[in-house]
């Protein structure tokens, strides 16, 4: 079983890296880019014996406590059988 955790900056938190990426893609000629926000992605292999609800609970706790900083970031967890 695999937990996929997406960590993204909260709306309103400045993302200088996203801005720099946006600037670069615009220089390359990509039109219509309104905004770029950079985030983090984690793949966590979990013990197959865990029930999906347990896996989700574990991943969410980990995401809240370690993988994200709740002051500036949100997270989303997906469980893949």
């Amino acid at each position: 079983m695999k937990a996929k955790v997406y960590v993204t900056l909260k709306p309103g938190v400045l993302d200088p890296q996203g801005k720099a990426i946006q600037h670069s893609v615009e220089l390359l000629g990509y039109d219509g880019i309104a905004d770029v926000r950079q985030g983090k992605y984690f793949e966590i292999a979990l013990d197959g014996a865990l029930a999906e609800s347990e896996a989700r609970e574990t991943a969410e706790r980990m995401a809240h406590e370690v993988l994200s900083n709740p002051v500036i970031e949100d997270f989303r967890v997906e469980i893949e059988g």
Binding site: V13, L14, P16, Q17, A20, V66, L67, N69, V71, I72
Partner: protein
């Protein structure tokens, strides 16, 4: 009185802090390895600058889970003095001992230069030897020093006079041009509500000898020593 300097894998300003306490403050000081958990013999603990755990995940994020940090939390809750410098500030924010967070600098550059900071509050254990409103020239060296917090936290920091240092120009004007990293409200250093935990991005330990370009940081350590002396510890 006794000082301790915490050493994480990747700390690199630990010896500077140790040198300043022993040579310029003239007080006993130990290194404290991050696996140590007994802080009972210390009155003040310095969390130094560097790149603890290689800044993996987020600056300060992994150091926060080191065994010593649980002890630092208890130490602070008992009223012990904690000074976090640069990476130390990032660790204190990640650990929740100070509010807000430090994110990537506004212009993405690693800034390594002397900056000016204005002393915003001299009524703290860390700044009682400094005069409010005066300007100190202290170096910064960081890529993630951009202080962010929500509106409520900022209002609280302002109201409770917990913003201790703000980036300014040489004359003490707090301007956007003098803000090296984009920090909200030009914040360079804040303390907790109880005023025994201070975090700051500038490196006062690198500004303690004229030979190194500035000795403006020395009084921060001397303030702390004066506080401890007054408490007879």
């Amino acid at each position: 009185m006794k000082f301790g300097v915490i050493v994480f894998p990747g700390s690199n300003c630990d010896h500077d802090a140790y040198h300043v306490i022993s040579k310029h403050v003239g007080q006993p000081v130990d290194f404290i390895w991050h696996r140590d958990t007994n802080l009972s013999s210390y009155d003040a603990v310095i969390i130094p600058g560097g790149f603890s755990y290689g800044d993996y995940l987020r600056a300060g994020a992994l150091a926060r889970f080191s065994p010593v940090m649980a002890s630092v939390k208890e130490f602070a809750a008992r009223g012990g003095f904690v000074l976090g410098i640069c990476n130390g500030f990032q660790i204190l924010a990640e650990a929740g001992l100070l509010p807000g967070a430090l994110i990537r600098n506004r212009d993405l550059h690693f800034v390594c230069e002397h900056v000016h900071v204005r002393v915003e509050n001299s009524d703290t254990p860390f700044t009682n030897e400094l005069e409010r409103g005066t300007v100190r020239r202290i170096p910064v060296a960081h890529a993630e020093g951009n202080y962010v917090c929500d509106d409520r936290t900022l209002e609280e920091l302002q109201r409770e006079e917990r913003i201790i240092f703000r980036y300014c120009d040489a004359r003490g004007n707090v301007t956007d041009e003098s803000n090296p990293n984009g920090s909200r409200d030009n914040i360079a250093g804040i303390c907790n509500r109880e005023r025994n935990v201070l975090g700051m991005m500038p490196h006062p330990e690198r500004a303690c000898e004229d030979l190194l370009g500035s000795s403006d940081g020395r009084d921060i350590f001397r303030s702390l020593a004066a506080t401890l002396a007054a408490a007879h510890v």
